[in-house]
Symmetry: C2
Subunit: 311 residues, 2 copies
């Protein structure tokens, strides 16, 4: 396994060039001292296409023809399907049976084959492994891969280019791919920038791991933030988080919902629960004092209609 030292902002800069034809440069919306990077407006409705595109565009052509395989609660699935469709290759996606319908449908619409599994009793990596053996395809992991981390980090690269003088970033934490990519490029562009994570209280695997100084695995978590229900940080993402992320803030389920409401009514933006976790940390006083310009990454916007009604 690689050390954190192998991964740097240079990976993110390379990714930015590679994926540029496939992604949108998403806008930044200001609210007071907060600058929200709108990855909910990204193609596929989340930042995930950045990593999937960077990974898939790096696969040699002959190997690529055997297709790609991904496991994901939704946004990474949809992202992988979009990139595969764009390149004309088959995608097989392993998705939990309780993934939001909007995400499952959007993935199917892209021509991907969906393999459903029970999140509480089955192991998605094992299922993906079987498909890889059958097809000879290539795995597109959701976060624990330097190309995925680098692709995700391009969102922070754009944000820092577009908003000069940011003194902090707040990024949601699932498996740690998004925040590790963002932290690597952010600290390279501005060594003084402070990088904070935001994680649901009920899925605090990374928060626990940072405190323990080693990767902790938690039971399948029950949080509304379906994109952040990881059981442990990645082998590759964790050392980057340990070395570059100052602190991880925990947010409650009610804070997540209230952040969704405020972002919808005030900013006119629809974010999914996972996408609201960073906003919740920013809006509900978790950050240290003295920050003048804070970049907040809104990771995605794929929400089932039912949840919107219940807001």
């Amino acid at each position: 396994m690689s050390e954190a030292g192998d991964f740097s902002g240079a990976w993110v800069r390379e990714a930015a060039v590679r994926i540029q034809p496939l992604i949108y440069r998403t806008p930044v919306v200001q609210w007071g001292r907060f600058f929200f990077k709108c990855e909910n407006l990204q193609r596929g409705g989340a930042f995930k296409i950045r990593g999937a595109a960077n990974r898939i565009l790096s696969i040699p052509k002959q190997q690529l023809e055997r297709g790609v395989v991904a496991f994901s609660s939704g946004n990474h699935a949809q992202a992988t399907a979009i990139v595969a469709e764009h390149l004309g290759v088959q995608a097989a996606i392993v998705m939990p049976s309780d993934a939001p319908r909007a995400k499952v449908e959007a993935t199917r619409e892209r021509g991907a084959r969906i393999i459903s599994y029970d999140r509480l009793t089955e192991d998605r990596e094992q299922i993906a492994g079987r498909i890889l053996e059958e097809t000879g395809g290539t795995l597109v992991p959701p976060y624990n891969h330097h190309l995925i981390m680098a692709g995700a980090g391009t969102a922070a690269l754009e944000l820092i280019e577009d908003v000069p003088g940011l003194d902090a970033l707040v990024v949601c934490v699932g498996g740690g791919g998004f925040i590790s990519g963002c932290a690597a490029i952010a600290r390279e562009m501005n060594p003084a920038i402070r990088v904070f994570g935001a994680e649901p209280e009920r899925a605090n695997d990374v928060w626990q791991s940072v405190r323990a100084g080693r990767r902790i695995t938690i039971p399948p978590p029950d949080t509304i933030a379906d994109g952040l229900r990881t059981l442990s940080p990645g082998v590759l993402t964790f050392p980057v988080i340990q070395s570059l992320v100052e602190e991880i803030f925990l947010v409650s389920e009610e804070e997540i919902l209230e952040a969704m409401r405020r972002v919808l009514y005030r900013l006119k933006l629809l974010v999914e629960p996972s996408g609201a976790v960073s906003a919740a940390a920013a809006l509900f006083g978790k950050l240290p004092g003295g920050l003048k310009k804070v970049g907040v990454l809104l990771s995605g916007g794929n929400v089932d209609a039912e949840l919107i009604r219940n807001l």
Copy 2:
């Protein structure tokens, strides 16, 4: 009264410089061949601050100290209140008693004095007139004023700068201030660009007026698009529309609601009913064939929570 000839793109360019410190340059979000200009993300939640700022910043200082007066269903009220608060002057706003609560509250929060009236039985211009006599303040009309039209047009100026090669614009039509400003600058920047209006079927005063060749007044209309419930086009806006707008498309109430839904779920953007009228015309096949890149102006995003639940 001035002729259409008095009003030109030059007014819009001057406005862009004047109002720049007070407004956001809103992002553009692409969906296929449509490029949505997100004035729902504008300060105050709508394009209206562009006109209000242009008007108010043009009032001589001594006169400005007597305050400003506006009548509006909501967005123009809020815009006027924001600009007045910014400049430290008093704003008195005449609002219909059935205006969306979100708009009334946001206006009050800005320190404005709200004067409520019954839209079906009272005349808002008369009420505003009385206040002007009492205070010696200055009227900030919602649309029928060259400075208001010019300010509104700065949204199209930005859109055309940001998206080269647009062959058409679609703009919602209330009193005609937004579309006349947009049409003037758009046709000056690109004489080949086609400018289309979109108006609710149930508030078709401008559509009727264009057909009749004269300003038609309709009874108080009943449409969900509360920002477009004007009774007739303006004396100043109408000749600009006659000379520069190719066609006005009518959309039904159901099309407006369905456009709101699609913009929310697909684009992750909250638009109010009036803001969805242009999207409805674009998404439901009203436009002529052969258009490759169409700019669609989303005019605002101030929606009551109840309506969102009912989507």
